[in-house]
Amino acid sequence: MDAQINTPGAPHSYAADAAFAAGEQRPAAAPAPFIEVRGLVAAYEGKIAVHGVSLSVPAGAHLSLLGPSGCGKSTMLRSIAGLETPLEGEIIVDGRTVFSSARRINVPAEKRRLSMVFQSYAIWPHMSVKENVGYGLRLQGVRGQELHSRVLAALDMVGMAAYIDRPATDLSGGQQQRVALARAYAFSPKAVLLDEPLSNLDARLRARMRTELKDLQNRLGLTTIYVTHDQEEAMAMSDQIIIMREGRIEQAGRPLDIYDTPRSRFVADFVGAANILEAEVTGRDGSGHILAQVGGAHMRCAPRENLPKVTTGGRQLIAVRTVYPQISTPAATPGESHLPENTWPARIERREILGDVIVYTVGWPGGSIRAHAFPSHLLEEGRPVTLHIPPERAILVAADE
């Protein structure tokens, strides 16, 4: 029997992919949007940073704006918060228009009842922790015992109740971050905006805070917009991800949908690790699957109605996530004609042992491909193997501009 070295989990339904492949937009979520942005055009330092972006966030949902630095995600967030004035567009929060260029509406930030967690935390050093957390509440007229108990409750949620009377200058980075969270949640905002809140923490702390943050959000059920450049954060925490690049939306959807069906090379590369193969499309089979020639290999790929944009050299790009190529070690090396579809004889070219994962570079008739495997069975470099790429995992993606 072929020994499977890496076995992917059961693939999820492809029906949604068929709809995607047919070019339909994912149907809008049933509940009405809590935050809606239409056609936002915004500038930053004299240049256009957001080019006519629209999005909508249902109540209680967590949306992440994901992208490299300079893609306009922070400008979008700050525009929603009211800290930046966009050039054009509309922003509607809980049914109320807070910004409209056409109708000349611009509600100032202090009146929008949205709270924000800043990348630098913005904890006021000259106030105590209690004064920091209670700042928004005090401005709403909450005083005395009620103020104290609400501040305490908010600090308790982030595990900082003991620090309530300490000066803010006593806090470490991670503690400041929690106090910033407590402050954001304390004043019962309509929604919470977070601007890369974890990026100043070290990796270990970041992973822990991510989980805590997610628990907190599940408990409170607040609508959240979260800006980050870290795809793990976005994947782990979001109901919806919008990937932005150079001021425009590259792709929007649920985390796993984006992961499984990236639309462009940029998205395939940005979220998760992917092999990008250059191919010629040779045809289409009866069930709509695309047939392609990758180097010396014939390959059957995922179905698609319209072919995506090709490279300047006229090549079609196919993305294969590194976790999906299956490497097996057959008892005997079969002849190529005996192999099932999308299976080829191959050879381990290089092996990188990263600990939790082994990265194999596999030479196959289509060139070289990277595959991730568990460390349970190690294969030596030079070993002949069999490579299988499930057709549904070979996604045609658009080339970048």
Binding site: A43, G52, L87, S101, P108
Partner: protein
Amino acid sequence: MEQDHGLLTLGVAGRTHRAASLRPPMGAEIVILLGALSPILGFPIFLIIATAFNVGDPQALPATDYGIGNLIALADHLDWIANTLLLAVGGTAIAIAIAIAASWILYRTTMPGRRVFEMLIALPYPLGPLLGALAWSELASPRSGLINQAYWSLVGAGAPLVDASSLGGIMFVMAIFEAPVAVFIIGAAMQRMDPSLEECSSTLGASSLGTALRVTLPLMLPAILSAALFLLTSMMGAFAIPAILGAESRLYVVTTAIYILFQGFPPNYPLASALGLVLIVATASAVWLHGRLLRNRSFVVVSGKSYRPRLINMRGWTPVLFAFLVLYVAVALVLPLCVLLFAALQRSNDFSLAADAFTLANFRYVLWDYPTARLAIGNSLLLGLGTGLIGTLLTALLAWVIHRSRGRGRMLLEQVIMLPQSVPHLIFAFGFMWAVLVLPFKIYGTLWAVLLAYVVIFLPLGYRSMSGVVVQIDKALEEAGRVFGAGRLRILAGITLPLLSTGLTATFALLFMVSVREVSASIFLSSAANPVLGPAILSFWDSGGLPQVSALVIVQTVILLTTLLVVRKATGGGVGA
């Protein structure tokens, strides 16, 4: 890059309404500030320029006849201009040499007592030029200087050993009293240098000296040039030191010549203005060059990423370097203070060491008996407080508006604020005096005129100080206030001001000190009825009572030292120039 037109054709379907344009409009506050400041700063300068071209009746204001006759007349007085330039260039060169050595020793070696030296070396500057001028006049005047007298008692009468009234003497005194500023500027750059640049040189085989010359010095060049331009500007407009030291030998520079022309009967305003114009052009050029040097960085010395500078153990050289620092402190601080104290305790101009030649009467005289002196001290304290308060609040507001608002014209406003530094204090003062005379309000001769002049002249200094503080406050701290519901005023009071408090105190103290020690700005604006300390000291010295004037300078020094100490305690650090 403006893409206004391009955007409208991007085809965002039908939407051509704009909530804001790519180039935001000039904010209301900027317009108001520009409108208020420009005439106050520009009018005096305009009057000077106008009078410089007045070839008609010299007393007429405004002029009847315009021409360049005055500028041509300057050709007869090229020695004044030459002296000014020589002193400025020579003094700057000496001061920079001292400063490079001193800041190297202070910040890059393991010299013992560095912290103490840092404080002592910084002192001569805030104490003011009168201290140095008077002390060195008493020490090294060619006919009666104490050093010369001691020399003659050893070798017999003859040529003096040192001559403070010579070009070299004045140059030397100016250099040692302006060097602290250069130490501050160059020292700041040395402390922020990335040590790995020097370490790399060492690992490739260079000696300590080789590294210092081939790596450190070139990297310090921008700071050195910056300090040099600053000193050049300052020395070209210096008044007190050339006035006191140059009087005996009739060595005039542009500033002292202007003063003499004003005292003349009748005063020759047009020629004085022409001189002033020349100096303004020279100073403004130096300032412009300085601005070009700093073009990518702000005017402000903001502490960026802090490195641990690599300290070098100079081993055998340590005693030599130690002696150098001791020598500087002695010559710039200890000796002058001792001489002045000595002179202040003398009964008469004939200095002697006899026991009966000492008395405390002089202090009683200046602090109590002589009303002009008492009044001058009081007025200067008031002026200090006033300049400190108004200047601090004004520059805080300006710094906040410029560094926090989005409107266009912020940089223009900053240029206008910095305008006074292109004009030497003395020259600005007489332009201001004319402006005040022209105005309908009767403030000429009152303290208000002096106060206003001080606030304007010290605007650049205060702005630089406050900018440094404002820029370091994280913008997010104020934005967070907005997000959680605070209006602009509440943020200003509850967040911005508390965060600025140390900076406000430091700026207040700075402005207080510079106004107490000021001479050239108030010499035309104060009067016998409203005396001010700096000019009063000069006129005291003019009338010849060395012990009394020394006592008055000691009083001024005590005020300044006390302020420094108090501020150091209050802010836990030094006050930067």
